[in-house]
Symmetry: C2
Subunit: 371 residues, 2 copies
């Protein structure tokens, strides 16, 4: 994408709701701050707002640049901007950092006002439903009664789906991408590796490490496990093959293949920007998300949705296998809902929602034009 | 399988070769012990011997019981015994613990005679070719000139394949199961998680932990990562679904799904029997195995094989995707070799070679009858 189509320099905004926020678990936090960004203009009728929901390790910074000299734009910059999939000439796009994150919205790494110390593991377990309920407060605060669309990939797609079922009157459409109504047991297993890696790092110290060394190794290994799930067998072949990072070292115990070097580099780089407890919380939110929970079964959960919907999946995504969205859409079609599922052919695996811009742009533009 | 078909009580045997063993890396160990078991009788012509090669964490104990009161039989007991796939009424079956293991054959957890201490990371990096060359010494020692067959699954199948290329005159057939001529970059990535988990456990201490606490957490996490690769998406669904081990704990930070509990239990159980350095060595052997290495390319490597061959794979095995054996067999067929590939439909994933007895038994019996 060229700079021409960029939303330009954007400032992250913050709003603090100074009344009790009740979590799904029954626990309470006395005040919650939400970090968010907006792109484009809210029209007079306030009916052109699109909420974009970010994934596991994302932030409110979805498009443009936070500083003139920022090197990398927001995480979905290729999709949000003038003339792009989420066209800021037409729509008012909002992205808020979700509850429990470490990028501005209140979470385990925030200061607990009652103690003056970071919450750590004292922060309540966060669910996707909690995240959505906080987003709803932001939308209310912005004076928007009904969103035009709620879109997101991966954990962002879970939020879009949960919005549709929790606040059916609050959006005209949902666009869940590379997601499902609950993750598979295999995905839980990957998350378990990550959680064990963090919690078994001695520096994790029961989540109380903020004044000491952080559990850098545990968090790096956790991220490495994540990276496997974002790719696919074919993506690994294409990206790395069996190239050796240092061929001299093939019989050296610490010799590494390029793929190992990549995992190590990105694993440790992640520890510079992301908080270990937060990672535990967002994995937990992902694990326990089940659209059916408290709603009988998946059929009943989906029956609440009135928004028009489009589900996008990617053929090589094994973290959110396409059969999950296929099942959802089959049920919703039986229920007579306006919905569709498109399984995009891609080798990129789960990461495809962050990489396959062109095909997504066409499909999303077409979908939004029909809402 | 019933006791009737068991090979009964079997004693593990040991032989020590007291001359220098040269590793592929150029390094030398002054004496090597091999642990092995045999089942059935070697005939007068010495032409009915089948070598069975074990996988990553296996041992020489492939069939029967080492003690009258042993609870579990050898790792491939369902396949080795009177009337079974590897019929001990007909064949003399040998299984030897591979070089670098911790179950009797010399490896990093063995005592280095020159120091009186365990080798640890001073042990040379072991390759599949090294393993095969040591197995050849055992076969020579047993007075067998030409094996009837060499069979194995996973890393055992790598050995069968390497045997075929390294010692083409020494076997009439090979039977590589759920294996390939090199692992995929995605499998290297899984192994990387395991290796990092061990090496970043402070108790690992550069591999020098034998007189102190073992790196129990790192090794357990390593094993957990392995367990993911042994199953399949469908196997995870069938085995665990999204059942919660302790439903009360859904909002409890340490609450666990059954699949998490399974990984934890088996991860830590593994640390009671397996050595952490050994795990690093066998993963390394798996990572760097490439049948083509030193032989130009895969075509040339395979052209050396004269043994009749049958490759078995399993449809849901993502650790050794069936397309790998398919590629090998396509090349070998072009080379005019007597070979075949059968892709067995199974939901079990990579573990299928240890679970799909019935279908394997039929195919193996048929193959052996035609050797």
């Amino acid at each position: 994408m060229t700079d021409k189509a960029s939303v330009g320099v954007v400032k992250t905004q913050y709003v603090t709701f100074r009344d009790d926020f009740f979590f799904e678990s029954g626990r309470v936090v006395s005040s919650v701050t939400v970090a968010y960004e907006t792109y484009g203009q809210l029209n007079g009728a306030k009916d052109n707002a699109i909420l974009v929901c970010h994934a596991l390790t994302g932030s409110a910074h979805a498009a443009g640049f936070n500083r003139e000299d920022e090197q990398k734009p927001g995480w979905w910059d290729a999709m949000i901007g003038p003339g792009k999939a989420f066209d800021t000439d037409k729509y008012f796009v909002i992205c808020s950092n979700f509850l429990g994150s470490c990028f501005g919205t209140t979470g385990p790494s925030s200061i607990d006002p009652s103690t003056g110390k970071r919450y750590g593991l004292k922060f309540p377990v966060v669910t996707i439903r909690d995240m959505v309920r906080l987003q709803k407060r932001l939308i209310d605060y912005l004076g928007i009664e009904k969103l035009f669309c709620i879109a997101g990939g991966s954990m962002g797609g879970m939020q879009a789906l949960e919005w549709g079922a929790t606040f059916p009157d609050s959006t005209r459409s949902i666009l869940p991408i590379a997601t499902s109504a609950h993750i598979t047991p295999m995905s839980i297993a990957f998350n378990a590796i990550a959680k064990f890696a963090i919690m078994k790092d001695p520096r994790w110290n029961g989540g109380d490490y903020y004044d000491e060394e952080i559990p850098v190794d545990g968090l790096a290994i956790a991220r490495m496990a994540g990276h496997i799930t974002y790719l696919s067998d074919q993506a690994f072949h294409n990206k790395f093959g069996r190239r050796y990072a240092n061929f001299e070292g093939i019989y050296d115990f610490k010799g590494m293949f390029e793929v190992e070097n990549y995992l190590r580099y990105n694993g440790y780089k992640f520890t510079e920007v992301f908080d270990a407890n937060t990672y535990l919380y967002v994995l937990k939110a992902m694990d326990i998300f089940d659209l059916s929970y408290g709603r009988g079964n998946l059929d009943e959960a989906l029956s609440a949705i009135t928004a028009k919907s489009l589900f996008l999946t990617f053929t090589s995504d094994f973290l959110f296998p396409p059969y999950q969205a296929e099942e959802i859409v089959a049920i919703m079609k039986k229920q007579g809902k306006e919905t569709d599922w498109i399984n995009i052919t891609s080798d990129y695996g789960h990461d495809a929602f962050l990489l396959e811009f062109e095909v997504q742009t066409g499909l999303i533009k077409d979908f939004l034009s029909r809402v």
